[in-house]
Every structure is written in structure tokens, then in C-alpha cells.
């Protein structure tokens, strides 16, 4: 009954939408004024070769501020929802082979994460992607070495401090922009003449770093909040 109703509805919606949006496929897509500017002059203006990064952290850096605040809020919300008198799940991890192999692999994971963050403005990648890889390291620790491994070594407080300092770094980059360039989140210290080097893009570099730290710590906090097992009566 419901299926039939849905089928009728959705065939109707689909038909009407296709009909209404035919204009789009007929005319095709053309670059707007802003994107034309990004594509032709973006790298010279910002000093970042990766145009996506330059948009995310310079032209539309305010979006990224909002976005990292979204993650920050989600982390706070999840922690406030799940925090209880908790003990970590008593899992002892996988076999010794896996443990050794990941012992070898983890530094490489870490390096690749850091690389993605630091080279975010030069090559594919950026703060978010690198941060996610950093976050996975802590998840891998949990799976491979047992849940108490990471939990006992790195307290939630230190992760919180990392997360907050990432966010504050982002804001600091923006605020320094006010003093140096006159605008909040302005790209200060960019030097387009040395295009392609690591430190060229000024604040984009710092923001990338901040976001990376923040995302890594945040994801790790989320993960550990969710896997905590509730012990009744404590």
C-alpha cells in the first residue's frame, strides 16, 4: 500500500523535476565570474596551488570556520550526551602479528597524515583529509591494541586541549589578519613570488594545520565517546 503510494509519488516528482530542470542540461554549465577569477588568478593572489584549498581557507575561509565549528559542536554534543561514569571496554586487541605490523605501519600513517596537512595548499589534500587520517590512527590503536591502550596513554583532556588549540589557531590566523591586512581572515604573509614552496601561502598554511589538528583530535574524541561501555551502577 505504502509502496504504491510512494511509487506514484516519486514517479510524479521525478517526472516533474526532470521537466523543470531540463533548462540546466540544455544550457550546460559555464563558469561564473567568481570561479573564472579563481581559476585564472587564484593561485597568484593566494600563493596556494591547490585551488580547492585556496577557496576553503582563503576566499571562503569563513565557511571553513563555520564548518570546523560544526565539528566542534558535534564533538561537544556527543561528549555531553555520552559522558557517564565509564570504563573503557575491556578488549585485548588482535593477535601479536597484527600488533607488530601496525606497530610498523603507524608512523607511516602519521607521516602521510601530516604530509597531507602540510602540503594541503600544493597538492590534493588539506586539513580535513589529513586530520581524518590522524584520527584513524587512534581508531586503529583501539582496534589493534585494545581499547584501553590509547585511552590510558592519551587522556581525553589532552585531546580536548589539542582540539581547542586547533580551533584557536584557526581563529588566531583570522585575527592576526585584522592587524596585518585589515580584514578578518585575510591572507597575511602570502608571497606569490615564491609560488610552489611550502611556506608561501601564509595563513592558509596555519589554518590547514589548525583544522588538521582539530579534526584529528575531534574524530578521536567522538570515536572514544561512542565506544565507551556503560557499566551499570557506577
Amino acid at each position: 500500500m505504502k509502496i504504491f503510494l510512494l511509487l506514484v509519488l516519486f514517479s510524479g516528482i521525478g517526472f516533474l523535476l526532470i521537466d523543470n530542470l531540463r533548462f540546466l542540461s540544455n544550457s550546460g554549465f559555464s563558469l561564473g565570474a567568481a570561479t573564472h577569477y579563481y581559476v585564472t588568478q587564484g593561485f597568484e593572489q593566494t600563493g596556494a596551488l591547490n585551488l580547492v584549498s585556496s577557496i576553503l581557507y582563503d576566499f571562503r575561509a569563513f565557511d571553513s570556520l563555520g564548518e570546523s565549528t560544526v565539528i566542534f559542536a558535534a564533538v561537544s554534543g556527543i561528549v555531553s550526551l555520552l559522558s557517564r561514569k565509564t570504563l573503557p571496554v575491556s578488549s585485548h586487541g588482535l593477535s601479536i602479528i597484527v600488533k607488530r605490523i601496525f606497530g610498523i605501519l603507524t608512523p607511516f600513517l602519521f607521516v602521510s597524515g601530516i604530509y597531507l596537512i602540510l602540503h594541503g595548499h600544493l597538492s590534493p589534500g588539506g586539513g580535513f583529509q589529513g586530520g581524518v587520517i590522524l584520527g584513524t590512527i587512534s581508531i586503529v590503536f583501539c582496534i589493534v591494541y585494545g581499547s584501553s591502550f590509547d585511552y590510558t596513554r592519551y587522556s581525553p583532556q589532552s585531546k580536548t586541549i589539542l582540539e581547542v588549540s586547533g580551533a584557536l589557531l584557526f581563529l588566531a590566523m583570522g585575527i592576526i589578519g585584522i592587524f596585518l591586512e585589515g580584514f578578518f581572515l585575510a591572507n597575511w604573509f602570502s608571497s606569490p613570488e615564491r609560488l610552489g614552496k611550502l611556506l608561501t601561502p601564509g595563513s592558509i598554511f596555519g589554518i590547514n594545520l589548525g583544522v588538521g589538528i582539530k579534526i584529528g583530535a575531534g574524530l578521536s574524541i567522538i570515536f572514544y565517546s561512542i565506544i565507551q561501555k556503560r557499566i551499570e551502577g557506577k
Binding site: 521525478g14 596551488l49 558535534a74
Partner: protein, 110 residues
């Protein structure tokens, strides 16, 4: 033709969201919807150029529009944190209700 594919993906996700009464499957349906929109957005603005990364040794390349990619990235992160929050709520809900059938949880009705 392309549009038809993404539209049917979108509607499929929607149907999945509405027909499934399991909370987890419901959010999977939503994810499919979101993904279809993002895919459409990215693929539509792909004009057959290169990824929007400027290579110093090859000036004058045709680059794709970088803006949709940035927007999609942002939207993905937002959706991800939303879903993390949703799953947290489902975990909390499981303290009170063992079943995750939305129609059997009376509190979701009113």
C-alpha cells in the same frame, strides 16, 4: 541521462528512508540522498578539464571549477558530523528501547 541517474539515486534514497522503519537504515537512506546530490553537483560542474590544482610546469591548463568541490567538501563534513550526532542519539535511545523500529517507539510519534 546523467541527471536521470542521480535523480533516481536521490529518489531511491528517499524511498529507502521512508520505507525503512529501522533508524539506522533510515539514516543510510538519507546518506544516499545526500551523496546523490553531491555527486550530481560535482559531476555537473566537471567540464572535462583537469583537477583544480595549478601545476607550475604546465601553465594554461583547463581547470575544473574548484568552488563546487570546496562546497561539497564542506557539505560532506557537515553531514558527517550530523550523522555522528544522530548515531550517538540512537546509542542513547538503545538504553531505553531495545527495538529500533521507529513505529514501535511511542515517543517518536508525538
Amino acid at each position: 541521462m546523467n541527471q536521470l541517474f542521480f535523480l533516481s539515486l536521490f529518489l531511491l534514497g528517499f524511498i529507502g528512508m521512508l520505507l525503512n522503519r529501522n533508524l539506522i537504515k533510515l539514516i543510510i537512506g538519507f546518506e544516499i540522498m545526500e551523496a546523490s546530490v553531491l555527486l550530481w553537483f560535482i559531476s555537473f560542474t566537471n567540464q572535462g578539464g583537469n583537477p583544480p590544482i595549478y601545476l607550475l610546469d604546465k601553465p594554461g591548463m583547463v581547470l575544473n571549477d574548484p568552488l563546487p568541490q570546496a562546497l561539497a567538501l564542506t557539505a560532506i563534513v557537515i553531514a558527517a558530523s550530523n550523522i555522528a550526532l544522530f548515531l550517538t542519539l540512537v546509542i542513547e535511545l538503545s538504553r531505553y528501547h531495545k527495538a529500533s523500529d521507529v513505529d514501535k517507539i511511542k515517543g517518536l510519534r508525538d
